[in-house]
């Protein structure tokens, strides 16, 4: 198990390194214009461009440029020349809001995704299954900005059931909670629909496995067969998806939700940076997001190993 973890960790670091090189190349080498000009912003003076060139080492070789830039990003010294704030600090400030949004939404989407998928699968073809299928498709089809607008309009503006003014810190738990309910729902609905469909089809596959028949033949109750033998073996694709999706949203991918609900998290910052073409910020956010995706994929690998001993023991079944 330890060897497995070390292998995965080394792999994750290698992937992150590769991503940082890719991000560097995309932002600095691929575009034809002067990178210092882009970093300095739209209304930069020639002196500013000159100082950016020096600070970022654009007069040096590419490996040196890479090294200088990564040092700036990872030591927290990048400043946005648009808004004159330290980018790393700004991202760190956004983490509590983004984490609150994403963890809460993830709990909702996992719980309901698994519940609906399970109910759909054990009643496959019946009324419950059909109703849940329709609901899932509706959930998948609703764009987040639309759903968020509708929720805000009816529940916050019309009947004033939920407050509207953005994110409240956790120091006041009740405020924190009520301000996050609508964002959680908006972010989770798509995934609930998606996960329930994936789990349903995965469970229907597993139900036809020989070992499920064995489990029934030894006299286990229907519920036990379904939970211990079918559900557990069906969770692997769901966990794969979860690692990718959760890594993406917590790394700043919940851009629309954060923007619609005025939550000043990493996603909101990303949206601003994109709007202003603030290249240092976009670069930092891209690496930040990649870090979380890689991190959660590593967790997924560990979860696999926990769920399937064949992976844990490093051997393949015949």
């Amino acid at each position: 198990m330890l060897r497995f973890l070390v292998r995965r960790l080394i792999g994750a670091i290698a992937v992150l390194f590769a991503i940082s090189i890719l991000v560097f190349l995309i932002f600095n080498v691929v575009p034809a214009t002067n990178p210092a000009q882009r970093i300095a912003g739209k209304n930069a003076t020639p002196q500013l461009i000159k100082s950016v060139e020096e600070e970022w080492g654009f007069d040096k070789s590419l490996p040196e440029q890479y090294w200088t830039q990564m040092k700036l990003i990872f030591t927290g010294q990048v400043t946005s020349y648009n808004s004159h704030v330290n980018i790393d600090e700004r991202i760190l400030e956004g983490i509590p809001a983004t984490a609150s949004l994403c963890i809460g939404a993830a709990i909702i989407w996992l719980a309901f995704g698994i519940l609906f998928g399970y109910l759909s699968a054990i009643r496959a073809g019946g009324f419950t299954d059909r109703a849940l299928t329709v609901l899932a498709l509706i959930g998948i089809s609703m764009p987040v900005f639309w759903l968020a607008s509708i929720l805000l309009y009816y529940l916050t503006y019309k009947i004033e059931l939920f407050p509207s003014n953005g994110y409240q810190p956790l120091s006041n738990p009740w405020e924190w909670f009520t301000h996050l309910i609508l964002p959680w729902i908006s972010l989770a609905v798509l995934y609930v629909g998606f996960y329930s469909r994936v789990l349903r089809s995965s469970m229907l596959d597993v139900m036809n496995e020989d070992y499920v028949r064995t489990a029934r033949a030894k006299g286990l109750s229907h519920r036990r067969v379904m939970t211990r033998h079918v559900l557990r073996n069906s969770l692997i694709p769901v966990i794969t998806l979860f690692g990718l999706d959760f890594g993406a949203v917590i790394g700043g991918g919940a851009i629309i939700t954060e923007f619609m609900f005025n939550i000043h998290g990493v996603g909101y910052f990303t949206a601003e940076a994109l709007k202003n073409q603030d290249f240092p910020s976009i670069m930092a956010v891209a690496i930040f997001g990649a870090f979380f995706i890689v991190l959660f994929n590593m967790f997924v690998d560990i979860a696999y190993a926990y769920l399937d001993p064949r992976i844990r023991l490093g051997t393949q079944a015949t």
Partner: protein, 344 residues
């Protein structure tokens, strides 16, 4: 106790499919006494596995139609509720399956799956005791170093060991009937022999009544007391092992026997085979289901023959073929390749 241990009467199993109703099993009767080995023989789709699974209610679904009766110690099983049947499965009738590779859940250890089986029927046994019992059972079926290997995962066992473990799991609650659905099909020949020895051993030492489902007459010859030959959902011949091997009455049985390799005869250029393919259950021929493939078909075969005793001296040997015993003997002589000597 009087009466047979397991009694199956007029069992019919149909499935509703998109193309219409499929009568997978169409009238199967048999009795199984304690300590007996009954072999059910037939090709894929002959209804042998469905028969076995229906006995313990594994085929139940809204699209399944079961008629007839299955009695265990005189108690009717087909009308029991699912919860009542769960008590029977595993504890009174155990079942093992064809492919030991896929019949264990890959994510739990062998021991844990055995403990689950034991505790499903007897909650009073604590986990430790059940675990000890699992190790003992593995030892009893010949798994070396069972104390340690009980915690292995299925993928760490070889195919033969997995099938032994399946049998051990089946025996955990000392059932009176073991249904083995092609237990040796997925194993190589030397392992097959070991598994058959094991089944026979348990059958003798514990008086475990066994239903052995197979398409391999070589397997049947080794362990069975009585044989049921199925074709197209019907029993086409039944009798004792000697009846079937030395005086087979149904041309389908001849075909099965004829396609065996034999060590006591010159090697044929190519193994004989029954021409054609098993019939689709959706579209069975009228009359005798074997008619389209039978070289001896004649006018009367358009009517369904009953399962009757046609030999004066052995009332338990029955078959579904319109030919007279004399005609059958003559034809077997001509076919030659079946080469059946009279029992010594």
């Amino acid at each position: 106790m009087s009466g047979p241990l397991l009694e199956v009467d007029g069992l019919r199993v149909g499935f509703a499919t998109e193309d219409g109703r499929v009568q997978a099993v169409d009238g199967v009767d048999f009795r199984l006494e304690a300590g007996e080995v009954l072999a059910i023989v037939g090709e894929s789709g002959s209804g042998k596995s469905v028969t076995a699974q229906t006995i313990i209610g594994l085929t139940r679904s809204p699209n399944t139609f079961v008629e007839g009766s299955v009695k265990l110690n005189g108690e009717e099983l087909t009308t029991q509720t699912e919860a009542q049947l769960q008590d029977v499965r595993g504890s009174k009738i155990a079942m093992i399956f064809q492919d030991p590779m896929t019949s264990f859940n890959p994510v739990y250890s062998i021991g844990r799956q055995m403990v689950e089986a034991i505790r499903a029927h007897d909650r009073s046994i604590d986990k430790k005791a059940a675990h000890r019992r699992a190790a003992e059972l593995l030892d009893a079926v010949g798994i070396p170093d069972a104390d340690r290997r009980v915690d292995d995962y299925p993928h760490e066992f070889s195919g033969g060991m997995r099938q032994r473990a399946m049998i051990a799991m089946g025996l955990a609650l000392e059932p009176s009937v073991l249904i083995a659905d092609e237990p040796t099909t997925a194993l190589d020949v030397t392992i097959q022999a070991q598994i058959l020895d094991l089944i026979q051993d348990l059958n003798r030492s514990r008086g475990l009544a066994t239903i052995l489902i197979t398409h391999d007459l070589g397997v049947v010859a080794e362990v069975a007391d009585r044989v049921l030959v199925m074709y197209g959902g019907k029993v086409v011949e039944r009798g004792s092992l000697d009846d079937i091997f030395y005086d087979p009455q149904h041309p389908y049985t001849w075909g099965l026997l004829g396609s065996l390799t034999r060590l006591d005869q010159p090697r044929p250029h190519r193994l004989p085979q029954i021409s054609g393919a098993p019939p689709s259950l959706l579209n069975l021929p009228t009359g005798c289901a074997f008619r389209p493939r039978c070289p001896h078909e004649f006018g009367k075969c358009g009517e369904v023959p009953g399962l009757e005793a046609r030999l004066a001296d052995s009332p338990e040997h029955r078959d579904r073929c319109w030919l007279t015993p004399e005609q059958k003997r003559a034809m077997r002589q001509i076919e030659g390749r079946i080469g059946l000597e009279e029992p010594a």
